[in-house]
């Protein structure tokens, strides 16, 4: 690589400016504002505000509603990660085989990733709505009482499936790339050693995919924490009751509906800390543990 040495600092700063400005305006400023806001108590009309230190945080952590949302998030994100990764791995293993039309198959599997969350949610709504949804109606006609607008568990199930469906494509790409980077000869050696396909999968392929899987686990958890707002908002709106209110959804409810900006900001900051922790774990783990 050629190294260019600039004289002075004006030109390099100018060249870096677009990236720095974007980072500052769209990332650092809002994050900073959220942190500052989380330390204030403000009236709903924004006329006055008062510095209250960490009181917003202590109140949030003590709130039963927040704990309920945290529990929902735990269930939701675990289920989304497991479902999205499991499905993606299965599909990737199938697509890795030399089958006719493999490229078309692979391309099709990547499509859902391009669908906007709200659109995806509407799609699932038209499938599972109890009175206008194709599957929803069929279920009710078959005698299964399906109404995710009344049944909290069904609502949770629906947003899990919808959120996972959107993430399968992403996981699929990474798993497929991971599978293709396993040397053919290693699998052949295992075949000659007497391992049948299922055994090869569990003892050779899966361990060799574990770095990819770990990376995806973190990405999926972060996705389930943050990027699923659109799906939840369009499908259940956090309901029925608070059955599908996750932490990110509660941030929205608290800030936009209840106009409790201090509490909402404090919840955002807690989420921020969570994701920073997850990322830190990922970097440390990948540096240390991953050796093939």
């Amino acid at each position: 690589m050629r190294k260019t040495v600039f004289k002075g600092t004006a030109l390099p700063l100018l060249l870096l400016a677009p990236q720095l400005v974007i980072t500052a305006i769209f990332f650092l400023w809002p994050a900073g504002a959220a942190i500052w806001q989380s330390l204030l108590q403000e009236d709903p009309w924004g006329m006055s505000s008062q510095f209250v230190g960490i009181r917003n945080f202590t109140e949030v952590l003590a709130e039963p509603e927040w704990r309920g949302a945290a529990y929902n998030t735990l269930i939701f994100s675990t289920a989304v990660a497991v479902l999205a990764m499991g499905t993606a791995l299965f599909l990737a293993v199938q697509a890795d085989k030399s089958i006719r039309g493999a490229n078309i198959y692979r391309t099709l599997l990547i499509w859902p990733y391009a669908v906007a969350p709200a659109v995806a949610a509407v799609l699932w709504l038209f499938l599972f709505h109890p009175s206008i949804g194709l599957v929803g109606r069929a279920l009710n006609e078959a005698g299964i009482a399906w109404d995710y607008k009344l049944n909290g568990n069904q609502a949770m199930l629906l947003i899990i499936v919808a959120a996972a469906w959107k993430q399968v494509s992403y996981n699929f790409i990474f798993f497929l790339a991971g599978l293709q980077s396993i040397p053919r000869a290693v699998l052949e050696a295992a075949a000659i050693d007497g391992a049948k396909p299922v055994r090869r999968f569990w003892t050779i392929i899966l361990p060799l995919l574990s770095p990819t899987a770990f990376f995806l686990l973190v990405v999926n958890l972060v996705y389930a924490f943050f990027d699923t707002f659109g799906v939840i908002h369009a499908l259940t709106g956090g309901g029925p009751g608070k059955a599908t209110e996750t932490l990110i959804y509660k941030v929205y409810v608290e800030g936009v509906q209840n106009v409790n900006l201090g509490s909402s900001s404090a919840q955002s900051v807690i989420l921020m800390i969570l994701v920073i922790a997850l990322t830190a774990v990922q970097f440390r783990f990948i540096e240390r543990k991953v050796h093939y």
Binding site: E188, A189, A190, A191, I192, D193, G194, A195, L208, H291
Partner: protein
């Protein structure tokens, strides 16, 4: 330990024919080296024997048992790969034990076999390491160990030495040969390196464009190559080829380069003017007073010997290998000893015997 019979084996990938009917019988305990240039089908042949590719037609029998349609796992073979193909996430010990565990051997038996193979290969100290912590030579040994512990009927080697540096390659070559003799396991060894082929094989299969051009012992292939391809492939520097025509009566050849050479071993069939290719190894050429003058364009002194490159008056290139240093001259007279001539058909390239 077992015999291997390959009968009428062909392989096509779509319209491309890779193997055109290979017949090969390997006896119990024999080491067969399959040698040929890249793309000649040698690796495909080995992979079909392993069961990693399916044959288009023909059959394979190991120890008299038909295995053509069986999975690799059911053939009771072990293979050493070019890039070793060790399991990266397992220790050396686990790598070696993997196949035995799958076969459900008792723990004590697995431990005994692994220890024995490790001792044989001198890798006892490496058992707890992972492949990435090993050098190329050590990985090679582990790959060998993984094959040995299985005590298979057949060893398959797919160019196992080509990723090693030159010195290590010579050392591992000798080691593989000793080991194979000691264990007495029937082996197929694929290589593109003729030195490896000559030193390792009880017999060689010289492959050319999907055919087995010749199957014979190394010395026989060297002394009586079946065609010009084999003759040019085995031996270093490669055999010289000169074109000529048969003389009336078949007792001699008139070289395009000038001289008429009389065959030492008897007349060849065919009428006068039959096109011939005469082969002569560089080390069999002589310098002699009254020979054909050959202007030199390159002299390679190798210490114990000297390799001379020149062009005959006919324009044909000629290589001469001399024992000891060469006289310092821009042109040297060369002679063709009659006893060292190989006679091939000028059109088909097949060997012509008296």
């Amino acid at each position: 330990m077992a015999s291997l019979e390959v009968t009428g084996l062909t392989k096509s990938f779509g319209p491309t024919h890779v193997l055109h009917g290979i017949d090969l019988a390997v006896e119990d305990g024999e080491m067969i080296v399959i040698v040929g240039a890249s793309g000649c089908g040698k690796s495909t042949l080995l992979r079909i024997v392993a069961g990693l590719e399916t044959a288009t037609s023909g059959s394979i029998r190991i120890a008299g048992r038909e295995v053509t349609a069986l999975e690799p796992a059911e053939r009771d073979i072990a293979m050493v790969f070019q890039n070793y193909a060790l399991y990266p996430h397992m220790t050396v010990e686990q790598n070696m034990a993997y196949g035995l565990k799958i076969r459900g051997l008792p723990k004590a038996e697995i431990a005994r076999r692994v220890a024995e193979a490790a001792g044989l290969l001198g890798i006892e100290a490496l058992l707890t390491r992972r492949p990435r912590q090993l050098s190329g030579g050590q990985r090679q040994r582990v790959a060998m160990g993984r094959a040995i512990v299985r005590e298979p009927k057949l060893f398959l080697f797919d160019e196992p030495l080509s990723n090693l540096d030159a010195k290590l390659r010579v050392q591992m070559r000798a080691e593989i040969r000793r080991l194979q003799r000691r264990l007495g396991v029937t082996s197929l060894f694929v290589t593109h390196d003729q030195t490896e082929a000559m030193t390792l094989g009880d017999r060689l299969v010289v492959m050319h464009a999907g055919h087995a051009a010749q199957i014979a012992t190394p010395m026989e292939i060297w002394a009586r190559p079946a065609d010009t391809y084999v003759a040019g492939f085995i031996g270093s520097p490669a055999m010289n080829f000169l074109s000529g025509t048969l003389v009336e009566g078949g007792h001699a050849v008139a070289l395009k380069a000038g001289p008429v050479l009389r065959f030492a071993d008897g007349p060849r069939a065919g009428g006068a003017g039959r096109p011939l290719t005469i082969g002569i190894r560089p080390e069999h050429m002589d310098l002699a007073e009254g020979g054909i003058p050959m202007p030199l364009d390159l002299v390679e002194p190798l210490g114990s010997e000297t390799v001379l490159h020149g062009k005959l008056p006919s324009g044909e290139a000629l290589v001469v290998k001399l024992a000891g240093p060469a006289p310092d001259a821009p042109s040297l007279p060369v002679a063709f000893p009659a006893a060292a001539l190989h006679v091939f058909d000028g059109e088909t390239g097949k060997r012509l015997d008296p």
